[in-house]
């Protein structure tokens, strides 16, 4: 080891010595973030709005509102305003659409644009990591490099990663991806109007969105069906067709992706925190703490998960928790409570192993507090095992949430959910309106396959000798 690598030069100084790669990277980043600054600020504004709402008395609500209005006014590259698709035919050409193209083409361009932007951002982030590794990192090699390299050589895992990214982008950019907005088409259809070309009168007419929806539902044969990739009678384009009530299926699907992803990730995050925390405590103190946790987790694991979910959703049906985010908050809480024992189980062994290491003794004898020892010397070694288990469990949660919503217990209207869409189209599977049930089901299959593949990739990358026995339990909620 040379002396330069051993001396602690702060990162800032290392960048100052060789600024070019960092500058190029930062400049590209500034452009990428700059074109979407409005959207980022809008998210900040929305979060601020929620926070203000939670504080009693709503202090500064008006300030936040004016701030939100200001943020909304900032133009962003990937938005509905830049590439609008909700125009109409006026007899000679399309009005109010992007470059006068047909709504279908304008929508397709926007989708391509959104994905191009998202992948550009990811490529930029990846490039940043590579630049850091090449130019600024103090050491030439860390064990994590091997993990990254193993994952890069894992085509099945990369296939999963691409599907997961596609799904996440769908959830994040949901408002920009839909051919219409949630507000207009699903929440308040009677507050908005659309213009359309009427064949009867040979002129442009306007109609309330709600009434247009009534006339474009998919309920089986003939006139009562708006198939995928077609226009309805009011000149509106529906990439996935319409649901039985005439609302746009694609818009519901992308917002459904949002709620599925939120529930899966947040629930797994909370369960992971509980599991990790308990694993640290039980591995550090052992004895009674361990025995008590074994007992509690075994008991929770002995309960049939789906049945407990159903029971808890019924018991909490008329409470305020059930109302939050149309039930998502309650579902997240239930999943965290039900899933932490599985996480704890999967990392208990590695945690116990780490706690036996010499460096733990050394840290203790140096007078470090138990919390420090757990956080700095134990948790990092166990974290990767938790990551493996969590990534393999996400698919199971998505399926379970869809299943509960299918039964009418999960996410309630108006928030769209894939399982509810499947239930919505159940009677029409054999009719021309097959798309209502088929599309969300295929998407769930695809996303869960992708998540499992991604999890496999992570497992093989982090722990090439991994035992394959545990994961079966991870993937099954049984829905």
């Amino acid at each position: 080891m040379s002396t330069t690598t051993e001396t602690e030069i702060p990162l800032r100084q290392r960048v100052a010595e060789n600024p070019q790669p960092a500058l190029i990277w930062a400049a590209v980043g500034a452009v990428l973030i700059g074109v979407e600054l409005g959207a980022i600020l809008q998210v900040v504004g929305a979060v601020a709005g929620v926070v203000v709402n939670l504080i009693p008395g709503d202090p500064g609500a008006s300030a936040v509102q004016s701030l939100q209005a200001a943020f909304d006014a900032i133009p962003t590259l990937v938005s509905r305003d830049v590439i609008p698709n909700q125009g109409y035919w006026d007899g000679t050409g399309y009005e109010n659409t992007f470059l006068g193209l047909s709504p279908a083409v304008a929508w397709a361009i926007r989708v391509v644009f959104v994905y191009a932007y998202a992948f550009a951002v990811l490529a930029w982030a990846w490039n940043g990591y590579k630049r850091f590794r090449r130019h600024y990192r103090r050491v030439d090699w860390t064990p994590r490099d091997d993990v990254v390299n193993r994952f890069r050589g894992h085509s099945w895992g990369k296939f999963g990663l691409i599907i997961v990214i596609t799904f996440v982008v769908m959830a994040v950019f949901a408002p920009a991806l839909g051919p219409t907005t949630m507000e207009q088409n699903i929440l308040q259809p009677y507050d908005y109007e659309v213009s359309y070309w009427s064949e009867d009168t040979q002129s442009v007419e306007t109609v309330l969105v709600g009434e247009a929806n009534l006339g474009s539902g998919s309920q089986g044969a003939g006139d009562e069906n708006v198939a995928p990739m077609t226009y309805d009678d009011f000149g509106r384009f529906h990439p996935f067709g319409t649901a039985t009530n005439g609302k746009d299926l694609f818009t519901q699907v992308v917002f459904g992706a949002r709620i599925s992803l939120t529930i899966a990730v947040v629930a797994m995050g909370i369960a992971g925190l509980i599991g990790l925390g308990l694993a640290m405590i039980t591995a550090y103190y052992k004895g009674l703490a361990d025995l008590a946790t074994v007992l509690v987790s075994d008991s929770i694991q002995a309960l049939p998960v789906i049945m407990v979910l159903i029971l808890m959703l019924v018991i909490f049906q008329n409470t305020w928790v059930r109302e939050l985010y149309d039930g998502a908050v309650l579902i997240i809480l239930i999943f965290s409570i039900v899933y932490w024992p599985f996480i704890w189980r999967s990392i208990r062994g590695p945690a116990l192993q780490v706690s036996e290491q010499d460096w733990i003794d050394a840290a203790k004898s140096f007078g470090q507090t138990p919390t420090q020892v757990m956080r700095k010397h134990m948790a990092p070694y166990v974290f990767s095992y938790m990551l493996i288990y969590a990534s393999l469990s996400l698919g199971g949660i998505i399926i379970s949430v869809a299943g509960l919503s299918y039964l009418g217990l999960g996410i309630t209207a108006p928030t769209p959910e894939w399982g509810r869409l499947i239930a919505n189209g159940q009677q029409y599977v054999a009719s021309p309106s097959w798309h209502i049930s088929l599309v969300p089901g295929l998407l769930i299959t695809l996303v869960v396959t992708g998540l499992n593949a991604f999890g496999d990739g992570i497992r093989d990358a982090i722990d090439p000798q991994a035992d394959t026995g545990d994961e079966a339990a991870a993937t099954g909620g049984g829905a």
Partner: protein
Amino acid sequence: MSRWQYFLRRVLMSIPVVIFGTTITFALIRLGPLDPVSAILGTQYNPQAAEQIRTNLGLNQPLWSQYLDFMYELFTFQLGQSWVIAPGTTAYELIEIYAPRTIWLGFWSVVIALFVGIPLGFYAGLNPNTPSDYAASFGGIVWRAMPNFWLAIMLVTALSQLGTWTNGLFTWQTWIVRTNVVTPPALGFFQSPVEQFLADPGGWTESFIRATKQIAPAALVLGSASMGNEMRIGRTAVLETINSNYVETARAKGVSGRSLVWKHIFRNALIPLVPIITGEAFLLLGGSVFVETVFAINGLGWLFFNAAINGDLPLIGTLMFIFILILVGTNILQDFLYTIIDPRVGYDG
């Protein structure tokens, strides 16, 4: 510690688990925000009837005595009765009616999953990295990722439409014996099988086939997740065994291919499949709610779901207790199988 002592310790450990699990159920039902009495009465709430039920269920006793009563009754198998979905019927009668259908469904879904999943997985493991391996593996993964309820809907539709699609050449309903696609299986032939069989062998066989055909699509769906798991684990297990030293040795000794596969590879590859197979109990219980709902098989899952949405909390408590017993029993069975099959497993667990 000998392995039987270890096994005994696991069995003893399951007693507090059952008690604790039942306590959680009690807490949910009695301490949750849903009042059992108003859930039972629903819209027909009147104070007199409420008081009546409250006394009957012992709800005006102090909480600790309610808890002791609840536990005592369950653990002595006084399972109470239904209050909403079949008022006055005892839980025993309900279970006697509904459980056989679920058991029949569970039995076939385990069998189908085993007899499709394991051979496919072993085949893929014995021919690794061939196109047929990739096809089988990928198929298994996608099959496992499909939500049961959706798969069930699609299968029901496909089976109902088969006649239309094939222009009447093949219809599921008339294939071998006449059945409906969506129906509870007729299990009358199980009442006293030997006598019935002796009295009318042909008729008995036909009703057996009919009941099997009625349950087959649902069992296929319910077993889908386990089938995928078994395939995967089976494949990995075979791959690991095939590369192990004792198989090399046996091969070097000149053991024939067939005997190598059956005696040395197959048996050892079965070990990691044990938890997958016993773990099916969890998948089956949870999945039964969805599959039974779509296929209109009124079994235990269906009973639980309906008891839940109709607020029949006393019945739910009983059913939950039974499910816990089933699952804990399966875990003990798993430990037992491990103890027999693999003497190396888990002394320090």
